[in-house]
């Protein structure tokens, strides 16, 4: 059971995933979650008791923009989620970081398969079919420009350009999937490029084609 394995991981010392701090055995609940930068002001935080509140809490950033990439470093602060069971903990974390726990558990047991960027782009159809024409140089630049903590994502990229071509070194390609807080953390894992990157690949591919024909 994912919930039980998650609870065991927390008992074994896991305390963070993304920007979310995991607090076990609090005075108020078996598990509590808050923004990791709010750890020193728990008494002042707004209480939530339903794990489904995680969707609202993670939808909008502090500055009002829509966080369509949940692993963006922009989770709002000021809330404390009190959870009564491991199942509620899992439900809340799946809303903050969709499938993040399951992907990590699969990687722990060696069953997490990876799809490289070229395979992902090659399987696109419809309006995204054009993304497959992106050059290797263009793809490498795109990953450095779109992925990583400086842009919209703090996942650890597991894929390469193709099975023989690793990503060139960049902040995005070397990011470990967890923040440098010193707390034991569940890393956020990226097993294949997201559709946001595919959409950007389509745009970059068209720009390359336009430049060639200019």
């Amino acid at each position: 059971m994912i919930a039980e394995r998650l609870a065991q991981a927390v008992r074994d010392g896991i305390r963070q995933i993304g920007e979310v701090l995991i607090l076990p055995d609090t005075a108020e609940a078996p598990f509590a979650l808050c923004h990791h930068r709010d750890a020193d002001q728990l008494d002042r935080l707004e209480r939530h008791r339903s794990p489904s509140a995680a969707r609202d809490l993670s939808t909008w950033a502090e500055d009002g923009h829509y966080r369509f990439t949940k692993s963006e470093l922009s989770l709002r602060r000021g809330w404390l989620m009190l959870l009564s069971s491991a199942e509620e903990l899992r439900t809340a974390l799946d809303l903050f970081y969709p499938a993040g726990v399951g992907l990590w558990l699969a990687s722990q047991e060696g069953t997490l398969d990876v799809q490289h960027l070229r395979e992902k782009l090659d399987r696109q159809t419809g309006m995204y079919r054009f993304a497959r024409h992106l050059s290797a140089e263009g793809a490498q630049k795109l990953v450095a420009d779109v992925c990583g903590p400086a842009h919209c994502c703090v996942k650890r990229i597991l894929w390469q350009l193709d099975s023989e071509t690793p990503l060139v070194d960049s902040e995005a390609s070397r990011f470990p999937g967890h923040l440098p807080t010193g707390r034991p953390a569940i890393p956020l894992l990226c097993r294949e490029a997201c559709n946001h990157l595919v959409a950007e690949a389509r745009r970059a591919s068209k720009a390359e084609a336009d430049a060639r024909h200019a």
């Binding site: 369509f68 990439t69 799946d94 969709p98 499938a99 399951g102 992907l103 558990l105 997490l112 097993r191």
Partner: protein, 271 residues
Amino acid sequence: MPIAPKPDSALLIVGHGSTENPDSSTPYFDHAQEIRDRGLFAEVHCCFWKEEPSMREARFLIEAEEVYVVPDFISEGYFTQDVIPRELELTGPTTHRHGKTWHYTLPVGVHDSMTDLLLRRAREVAPEVDPATTTLFIVGHGTGLNQNSTKAIKDQATRIFESGAGYAAVLDAYMEEQPLIADWATLAQTPNVVVVPFFIADGLHSYQDIPVLLGIEPEVGPAASQREVFRHNPHALREKTLYYSSAIGTERHMADVILDQIADFDLTHRS
């Protein structure tokens, strides 16, 4: 049709989602929670084309060995016939893959029970009007790329007209193909007009684009969840009285349609 509990199975609701408007995925989470609360499945999850979790990530959420995949889409077409099977690696109604058995149902929008939902929504939005003096529009997106995308809407308009609900006319209309919803005032011959968007979510199209096409709004406004004042029916426009409803997918009973599609799947493929 009541569905027997499936305590060893998972339900995976597939939605489109959006990188621009979070209201687009709200109904999917609402439908999932509604079904979760009924305790019919071991697990209920959502996955998306444009949001997280992606379809390829969905199997890492699911523990059950049997999974019912329900496309929470209005029509059969590019997404339900190409994108979802490709992304979930489905090869037919039932696929054995990644150690699980995946059952792939038809999209919610083509189920017969949608007719009752559309009628209910039309009555709710204009409870005081006489159907005999009213034209009911069922509005879809429409695209020249796939004829199937309008079939579900045409079928529903025909069923509603033949249902005995008494509407003077029930017409299908579209944002981007003929007949255009922008021409509603000339298409309708009655003083009252009810418009029900045949979309899953009150996202960009039904909440922001269609009101401009109808003339309710002068220009595209903010997302539903970002508005402080909600619109009020009716609207006196073009010498008619217009009632505009929320997208049909926001109807709470959509959860029942999802379950109906599963019951139909079992009847067709497993009995």
